[in-house]
Symmetry: C2
Subunit: 187 residues, 2 copies
């Protein structure tokens, strides 16, 4: 049976979200995996209030995740130094289900390089412009999300040269699938 | 047996994180709940590389979550318009375990009001300054996290007057515990 891979990421907020979903599914097919895009649920939201529509989408996404064997997350920074919160939520969700969580980013460098105005305080800790401590574990993002990927047996995929930072960039997505294919036969 | 409540939030990045953890535990005790702060794991990180330290903290936090009956998340915006990604991850984790997820914020308004340069496009959709679509479900943050709180039977707690926006503000935390106590006897 073809393994199902949940395609988590902030591309759902792009004008051409459906196209990107189709492109990701096509790449998955080349690796023998069925890509499942959040907008694939085929929900009928007609007549629902905004709040009820939001709740219906959330439930549908959780049902889709439960129907999948693994998740691949677009961890490219989104509206700030870190990744999209909804995608982070979904990584935690799949991790708690005990299913592999993969991740990639189209951005270069560690989280600490993007936190803004980072300096070292008198005790050798990194602080951002507000004085908040910046975690410094050499990871692409928060240790919970990055750790989930590493605990799943891979690394956050990133292209070493000329990272675009573009949340719609599919090059690092493809690199991540190569890593999965090498490590997990059948996925 | 006293219920254990995991205290998720970005306060771990503050200088006085341990003090805030103690203050939250004290408030929990008044509501008959045992507060469990991420930094309570009592890890010995001596001699570990930054990467291994990060992984150890991630594992310890996941073990702590599994040991808890519910989670309360500080959803106050952190380094951007949305909440801390690590906290979002933890909300998804507990939700997948089928345990209640509560949330509060010290910030006023919906996510859409903080996304930056939001305007309405020709099709009535909201866009941010980059042209990315902004979800508009009247929710405090992304529908996955907000939806998890609502699905757990409560609302994201917020103080109606003079919200501080301060991630260390405990007033909305206390309001959230009041809501929990009213709804869940024993929690």
């Amino acid at each position: 049976m073809t393994r199902r891979l949940y395609l988590a990421g902030p591309e759902v907020f792009l004008e051409n979200a459906l196209e990107i979903g189709a492109a990701k599914r096509a790449i998955c097919a080349r690796f023998g995996v069925e890509g499942v895009f959040p907008l694939d649920a085929g929900l009928d939201l007609a007549g629902l209030s905004p709040r009820d529509a939001g709740l219906a989408i959330g439930r549908a996404n959780e049902d889709l995740m439960r129907s999948c064997d693994a998740l691949i997350a677009n961890m490219t920074p989104f509206r700030g130094p870190g990744m999209d919160g909804g995608t982070a939520y979904e990584m935690g969700f799949m991790r708690a289900l005990g299913r592999p969580v993969f991740g990639y980013t189209a951005a270069a460098g560690a989280y600490v390089e993007r936190a803004g105005g980072v300096r070292t305080d008198g005790q050798g800790r990194l602080r951002d412009a507000r004085g908040w401590i910046v975690e410094d574990f050499g990871m692409a993002d928060n240790l919970m999300m990055t750790g989930a990927v590493i605990a799943s047996g891979t690394e956050v995929a990133v292209l070493p040269s000329a990272p675009s930072g573009d949340i719609a960039d599919l090059a690092a997505f493809e690199r991540c699938l190569e890593g999965m294919a090498a490590q997990f036969a059948g996925i």
